[in-house]
Amino acid sequence: MGWSRLAAGKASSPQEVARQLAWTRREFLRTGAGLALGSSLLPSSLFARTGIPAGKRKVVVITFGGGARDQETFAPEGQEYIPHLMRELIPQSTFFTQMVNRGILGHYVATASLATGVYETINNFASLPPEHPTVFEYFRKDLKRPASDAWVVAPSNGFNRIGESSHRSYGPGLGAKVILPKHLLTAATSGGGSDYEHLLRDNYETPFHTPELAGSEFELQQLRMMLKLSVDDFKAHALTLASPDELSVYIVRQLMRQQAPSLLWITMHDIDIAHAGAYSLYIDGIRRTDRLSADLWKTIESEPEYAGKTTLFILPDFGRDADDDSGGNGFQHHRTGDALSRTTWMMALGAGVREGVVFDRPMESTDLVPTLGSMLGFSTSLAEGKPIPELL
């Protein structure tokens, strides 16, 4: 192995490592979860499979945020940390084993890239909008949807600009509404209070100082008008929650019941505690995200506005560094740009999605937006990715 000042790692090419990762995931899913190889299936149109016209469909995207590696998720030794994905969701899913992120591996900029279909290059730590139109803008402008039909729930305070871009043809007024649950809680509790501190924590790599977004009256209005929640009810429920992501999922459920948006995007972030170097807390974050993802799917299946017509996408924004890359420190960061940190997975389930199928051809993070456009019937002309035919 050996150390190097500049970088170090294995001699294998990134492509070779990515293929190996995909193969391992595929074989594991085939043997462990009984999935079939997708290449043997005949294509059919999404409409034919669902009988639901594009205008009636809904999409929920969960970014399994914070970056999770194979050995803590889909490798044999990692499956114990994702029992809900393994037993409940994967059998119902089409699973893509090789989702490659070729962009900047910072959480805000990577999520922005996922949402625009272009590898964004904005400063990961600044409060800036994406430079290219977001999926929310394409969706609303092309389909003439109201602002209440596209929402983002983002646990991290740094994500407040993710809803709409700075692009001159789109931008202000055309994006998604963004809810930052921590801001809601801070406003509801007049600054926090010790009982709620565990729900307000940010992690190691999010901006420490977030500019005031608006007065607390704005957040309180969101609570009352959009979520139909009283401050007291919100505070009382928050006391029963264990983490910022749990708070986010609570808000998402409320949003689904009160607003029923057709395009809903939630970024999880508890896993990113890994940057503090405590492996047990990183694992706790994975277990929690696994459980919350399954909880959200149950909500989708049980809410009349969503059941039977919703497609759910779950994908990490990227991975984390490999143990054997001496340029990094294993699970702690995603700084080396090695194959393990760039290669991740995606699962899709619900309306129009084949169950129990696995595809291992390489695809890119930027393919998500054109795929959503094809599924919901809007154009994503400035996105760089390509629609994923296996889902259409």
Binding site: F125, E205, H209, A276, G330, Q332, D338
Partner: protein, 401 residues
């Protein structure tokens, strides 16, 4: 400014030994691409505070660069020469602030999608350098010891899962006076091979009594330094616009005196300890992270012959601002979570030991402190085996070596 414009007097701000070193190689430095040179200068500017092994490696690297013909130079550095840089980077004061330059270069490489090309160039260069200037073999096989689980009364889950395939697992270890015994073995090695910074004891809590010949770093001994650092961090993160990158840059500029370390101490070790706290992520708040990162850096930089790392319970997870407030740790610890952290940390210690010259002859032991479980890895021990025989730690070390 480009490297070709370099003049020896531009290094006048460097510490004396670094200045002397770099002046001998000024002509070689002038030929290096800007995408490469500042990362080398980042090491050179720290030369006065480097461990002996690092110094020798740096001297050899510079001598090698100096010996290359023009053709060889182009061949070795072709990948770096093809990296496109911005005028902002060219205008940066990379001679006096190479560390900050490298941070900005990293950002530039990500933004311009050149990171993979840089990685390829760096790997090719490192492979070539290793072939021409191979790492020094140790005068005696290295020994790594990791002690985990302090404060945990019982644990039912399997330990050492990542290491078991590489060594022999023992479930009948006699734990009596285990730590003292291990420290005495380490001290004996230090006396037998008395080289500077060659025998380390890193403790994530309060260091146990140990031989003064050992290079010792402990989380507890740095409590006042950590408190000062936390106070500085708390002030900085309140500043508008302050984020992790800006904070990191600020912390990297702190020196031992800024954090209250005495001027009469060991300047090399003091600088190392401050770097653990200012450049490590999470080392300020979690003792388990501190122990793992310090072990990693000690192995990478000092290349010790002996390293004993003892993990201790860390504080529970709390909001970041609260964790940065010193003085509340003792009352709220997470021993079980710390055991899991340390179990992974032990695996990383072994991986990092494997990166050093002579790895195939090195031996490694992990012991669950106060308990009967241990794993031993060494050239004469079988892989993936299990034994429940009653065994002393000294015996395990003897088998592993």
């Amino acid at each position: 400014m480009l490297p070709s414009d370099l003049k020896p007097e531009q290094f006048n701000g460097y510490p004396p030994e670094a200045r002397k070193l770099v002046s001998s190689y000024a002509s070689a430095l002038q030929r290096l691409p800007l995408s490469f040179l500042p990362s080398l200068l980042r090491e050179v500017i720290e030369y006065d505070f480097k461990f002996p092994a690092e110094r020798r490696a740096l001297e050899k690297e510079l001598a090698n660069l100096n010996s290359l013909s023009s053709e060889q130079f182009k061949d070795w550095l072709r990948g770096f020469a093809q990296i496109r840089l911005s005028s902002q980077l060219e205008n940066f004061d990379w001679v006096n602030a190479p560390g900050q330059f490298v941070e900005q270069l990293s950002s530039h490489l990500w933004t311009t999608h050149q990171l993979d090309a840089f990685r390829t160039a760096a790997l090719a260069y490192a492979d070539r350098l290793r072939a021409v200037v191979p790492p020094e073999p140790p005068p005696v096989p290295r020994l790594g010891i990791t002690v985990i689980g302090q404060g945990v009364a019982a644990y039912d889950e399997p330990l050492f899962r990542k290491l078991r395939a590489h060594g022999a697992y023992f479930s009948g270890v006699k734990p009596d006076n285990g730590l003292e015994l291990l420290l005495s073995v380490v001290a004996a090695r230090a006396k037998e091979h008395p080289l500077p910074y060659a025998h380390w004891y890193i403790d994530g809590g309060q260091a146990a009594a140990h031989d003064p010949t050992l290079t010792c770093v402990s989380y507890h001994a740095l409590e006042r330094v950590r408190a000062r650092l936390s106070a500085k961090i708390r002030i900085e993160i309140q500043r508008p616009g302050m984020g992790p990158e800006a904070l990191r840059t600020h912390l990297a500029q702190l020196r031992p005196a800024d954090l209250g370390l005495a001027k009469v101490g060991d300047a090399v070790l003091d600088r190392f300890q401050v770097k653990m706290l200012t450049e490590g992520s999470g080392t300020q708040i979690f003792s388990t992270t501190f122990a793992q990162w310090t072990a990693r850096e000690a192995l990478r930089r000092a290349q010790p012959l002996t390293l004993l790392v003892r993990f201790a319970p860390r504080q529970r997870q709390k909001p970041m601002n609260e964790m940065l407030s010193a003085g509340r740790e003792a009352s709220d610890l997470d021993p079980l979570g710390s055991l899991i952290d340390a179990d992974m940390g032990a695996y990383y210690n072994w991986l990092n030991l494997q990166r050093l010259a002579g790895a195939e002859q090195s031996s490694f032991l992990v012991w669950f402190e106060g308990h009967n479980e241990a794993i031993a890895i060494g050239p004469s021990l079988p892989h993936g085996t299990v034994s429940d025989a009653a065994t002393g730690l000294e015996q395990l070390l003897s088998w592993a070596s």
